[in-house]
Structures are given as structure tokens and as C-alpha cells.
């Protein structure tokens, strides 16, 4: 997957997790939780969806890497480049 495809995939996951939110205005450099109503359980949903959809295991110590779109795409890029 390219970075833009990864971004689209993350947007799709967020769409399921936060169905009431308008994701079209999401700023990639700001933390998700500053822009969206997401709590820790929602955050775990992102981790779970990555596991279910792409068998990507996000280690607990790496959760912080999924704070914003920019950092998420950066973290996922090497893990999803061959998908």
C-alpha cells in the first residue's frame, strides 16, 4: 500500500469507529483525539481493526505512534508496503 492508500484505509476504519464525525476536515498533523470524540476504547478499536483487516499487530508500546494521521501512516508504511 502507498501512504495515500494507507491514509484512505485509516479513514475507512475511523468512519466505522466514529460514524457521527465529519472526517473530511481531519488535519493530518493534529492528534485524532483533539479533533474527534475518541476515547481509549475507540482507540483500541483502531488497533483491533488493523489486526482484523491486515493482521497487523500493534504492540502496546507503539500505541503512541497512532496519535495522529501523519504518525499513523508513518508507523504503518513499512508494515503495509507489501499488502
Amino acid at each position: 500500500m502507498t501512504p495515500s492508500e494507507i491514509r484512505a484505509e485509516v479513514i475507512d476504519i475511523l468512519g466505522d469507529i466514529a460514524p457521527d464525525e465529519d472526517l473530511s476536515q481531519l488535519k493530518d498533523d493534529l492528534p485524532f483525539r483533539e479533533q474527534l470524540e475518541l476515547d481509549s476504547m475507540d482507540f483500541l478499536d483502531i488497533v483491533m481493526e488493523l489486526r482484523k483487516r491486515h493482521r497487523i499487530q500493534v504492540a502496546e508500546e507503539d500505541y503512541g505512534q497512532l496519535a495522529s494521521m501523519d504518525s499513523t501512516v508513518k508507523y504503518l508504511e513499512p508494515r503495509m508496503k507489501d499488502l
Binding site: I17, P19, D20, M41, D45, M48, R51, Q57
Partner: protein
């Protein structure tokens, strides 16, 4: 007329119903529900569920987004959603100034037959697709399946900070929720009690499969005719979902805010058969009705309507009729009806929904029927059965509501016209 025991009590010790909110398979408000009951409109339809396949069920179609955001719906349970819809509708119906109610003085007491089966079955089905690798098991499983879930979801959604919990009471739960709410008001643990029952049971295959294995799952070519309590050809239970929540208040509070009062809770009882896991005991059922009447200071002849529990099983219906004959054998005044013939068995919600549908009799003077009785089972024959067509009964004063459940739990509530 013998005065009821409660009429001698101060208003602060009397409990009244001031709001009703519900979703039933044939109505999403008390008005719609009552219209269906008076017009013979069933809420049972064809239904399919994993592993069991095609069957019939009472299915609700309330607007889930009226009081919940999509995110909340995704996080929560169907039982929670049913409870939230019913509770909001009840508060609105009660005319409470919700924004100025002290949230710490509101309690939520919801009867459930079971909770967690739907979510557990679903989670197991999900991880089956991942070769039962539990790393795919949802972190939402625990908050969805804790036994207080439906009441907790109501409290979360409505910002209620008083006590909340569910009352597990098999199919006696609707009455049990109501009784718990009344008792908490009398203990001054809250000023407003949201009390009743909910069911999401049509979403668990296990309940259908278990009734089927027991030979107690109803079937009929026409789903609307599948639930047939008292009919000689009845062949079991139609599983239904639904919910009904009442706003209960102490009479002095209700009077102070000039609330519309549906009725006064003047008697109740809960007892136990202690005889069998499944089979009811008519003697204990009769004792339960007798205890509720005694506490209300009433004679059986004073009860206008008995809302029966009968579920459409061969033994359960005849045994309840046996109990009813023991208690009401000499009463020429009492009429008997059954709501499950319209909507199926809504489990934890049944007692509350069945009472709600009958409460309107105080206003319209009509006793709704038991439908689908083509040929009355002689073992269920009694004077006063209202069959297939509603009956004008003048000005009813008292309704007695039966609700019984597995493991031999019996519950009875008596409500008086106010």
C-alpha cells in the same frame, strides 16, 4: 368497596405511575401499542437467526437514532438501546422537567430475563473467523455483558447519577423491575424511578434453540397466528424483543408537579416455587396472587382485569389457569386477557409491556382480548376470558398483572385507577 391499604397511607408512602415509554413488536409508543391491542394487530413476523434458521419472532422497529448517536449504538447493546429509547419516551411522557431534575435522585431499575448471551454468541461467532484466536476477541465484550449493562447504558445516555442496576428475574423481570423501583422510592433512595424491563432475546440463537430442544418453540405458517395462548393447538413460545419503562414517583411529588397519573401501585408480591427448573407450580402462583391481593387489601372480586402470563406452552397455560381458578373462581367481575398472543413473549420486558398495554383500560374502559384462540383448550376454560375481540367493561378500578419465570419465580403487581 373495601378501601385499599395504600389509601390509608400518607402520599409520601404511595407510589404512582406518571410516565410510560415503550417499544413493542406492534407499537413504539403506548398509543400505537394500545391501538394494535384493540385492533388485533400482531407484531410477530418471519425471522431468521444463525444456526436455527427460519422461525418467527416479535421484532421491534423503533427509531434507534432518536436518542442515541451512531457511535453509541455501535458501542452498546440492543438491550441498552431498547432501554434508552423506552426511558426517554417515559420521561417525555411524564412531562418531567428533565433539565432541572437532580440526576443523583433518579434511579434506574431494569428487569432482564438474561443478558450477555447475544454479545457472547456474537463474539464467539466473530473469532470463529479467526480460528478462535482470542487476540481478536473484542475489548467491548465485558462492558457489553456485565449484568447491569442495560440500566448502565440508560444512565450513561441520560446523565443519571443515582443508583442503577438490572434485576435478573427470568420472565418475571418486568414486574420485578417495577417493584424494585417502587421499593427504592419508599426507601427514599431516589425521587424518580425509571423502572420496567427490556429484552434483546431475539438476537441470541441459544434461546430459540433451547426452546426448540425443549419442544416449546412455536411455529405456524402464518407468523401472526403463531402465539396462541389458551388455544388447544398452541405449540409453544414466540420469542420477542421489546422494552417498557415506567416513571414512578411518590404521590406527593407527582401531585406537586400536577403530573398525569396512570395508576397507583397498590399491591405486589414475589415468591418462589422451589419445585422445578422449568415447570411452574400453580399453588405457588396462586399464593403469589393471594399475597399481592392481601397487601392491597383487596378481594379477588374487586379485580377487573387480570393480565395473564400465559406463554403458549401446553403445560404453562393450563397451570396458570389452574392457579387463576383457585384465586378468582368465584369472581364474576374479573376479566382475563393475554398480550403475548399479539407480540409473543418479550421475556424481561413482558411483565412491564403487558401491564402498560392494559393500563389504558382505566381511560378507555376496554379490556383487550387474547387473540388467536380458534379453539379454546378445555383445560384453559374459565369464566371471564376475553377471547379474540376486546370487551367494554365500564370503569375498571384494578388491574392485576401476572409475570412468572424459570426457576420458579412468580411476580404479581396490582395497579389501581387514580
Amino acid at each position: 368497596m373495601i378501601a385499599t391499604t395504600t389509601s390509608r397511607l400518607p402520599d409520601s408512602r404511595r407510589i404512582v405511575i406518571t410516565g410510560v415509554g415503550l417499544t413493542a413488536p406492534n407499537g413504539n409508543s403506548l398509543k400505537e401499542f394500545r391501538e394494535s391491542l384493540l385492533n388485533g394487530r400482531s407484531g410477530v413476523r418471519d425471522y431468521e437467526i444463525r444456526y436455527v434458521g427460519k422461525t418467527v419472532a416479535g421484532v421491534c422497529d423503533f427509531d434507534t437514532l432518536r436518542y442515541q448517536a451512531r457511535r453509541e449504538l455501535r458501542r452498546g447493546t440492543r438491550a441498552g438501546s431498547v432501554g434508552i429509547y423506552s426511558s426517554h419516551e417515559a420521561v417525555r411522557d411524564a412531562g418531567l422537567d428533565w433539565d432541572h431534575c437532580d440526576p443523583s435522585r433518579v434511579g434506574v431499575y431494569i428487569g432482564v430475563t438474561e443478558h450477555g448471551n447475544v454479545e457472547t454468541e456474537h463474539a464467539i461467532y466473530e473469532i470463529k473467523g479467526y480460528n478462535y484466536d482470542t487476540s481478536f476477541w473484542s475489548h467491548h465484550h465485558n462492558p457489553r455483558t456485565v449484568a447491569n449493562n442495560p440500566a448502565g447504558e440508560v444512565a450513561l445516555n441520560m446523565g443519571i447519577t443515582g443508583p442503577h442496576y438490572t434485576i435478573g428475574a427470568a420472565c418475571a423481570a418486568g414486574n420485578a423491575g417495577l417493584i424494585q423501583g417502587a421499593q427504592m422510592l419508599l426507601l427514599n433512595e431516589c425521587d424518580v424511578a425509571l423502572a420496567g424491563g427490556v429484552s434483546e432475546s431475539i438476537h441470541t440463537f441459544g434461546i430459540f434453540a433451547s426452546f426448540k430442544s425443549q419442544g416449546a418453540l412455536a411455529s405456524h405458517a402464518d407468523p401472526a397466528r403463531a402465539s396462541r395462548p389458551f388455544d388447544i393447538h398452541r405449540n409453544g413460545i414466540v420469542v420477542a424483543e421489546g422494552g417498557c419503562m415506567f416513571v414512578l414517583e411518590r404521590l406527593d411529588d407527582a401531585k406537586r408537579r400536577h403530573a398525569n397519573i396512570y395508576g397507583e401501585l397498590v399491591g405486589h408480591a414475589i415468591n418462589t416455587d422451589a419445585t422445578d427448573f422449568v415447570l411452574p407450580n400453580p399453588d405457588r402462583q396462586a399464593e403469589c396472587m393471594g399475597l399481592a391481593l392481601k397487601r392491597a387489601g383487596l378481594a379477588p372480586e374487586q379485580i377487573d382485569i387480570v393480565s395473564t402470563h400465559a406463554t403458549g406452552t401446553s403445560s404453562g397455560d393450563t397451570q396458570e389457569c389452574q392457579a387463576l381458578r383457585q384465586v378468582f373462581g368465584t369472581s364474576s367481575r374479573t376479566r382475563f386477557n393475554n398480550t403475548k398472543s399479539f407480540i409473543g413473549h418479550s421475556m424481561g420486558a413482558a411483565g412491564a409491556l403487558e401491564l402498560a398495554g392494559n393500563l389504558v383500560s382505566f381511560a378507555d374502559g376496554v379490556c383487550h382480548a387474547t387473540i388467536n384462540v380458534d379453539e379454546l383448550d378445555p383445560a384453559c376454560a374459565m369464566n371471564g376470558l376475553v377471547l379474540n375481540q376486546p370487551q367494554e367493561i365500564g370503569k375498571p378500578e384494578y388491574i392485576l398483572n401476572n409475570s412468572f419465570g424459570m426457576l420458579g419465580i412468580n411476580s404479581v403487581v396490582i395497579v389501581k385507577r387514580f
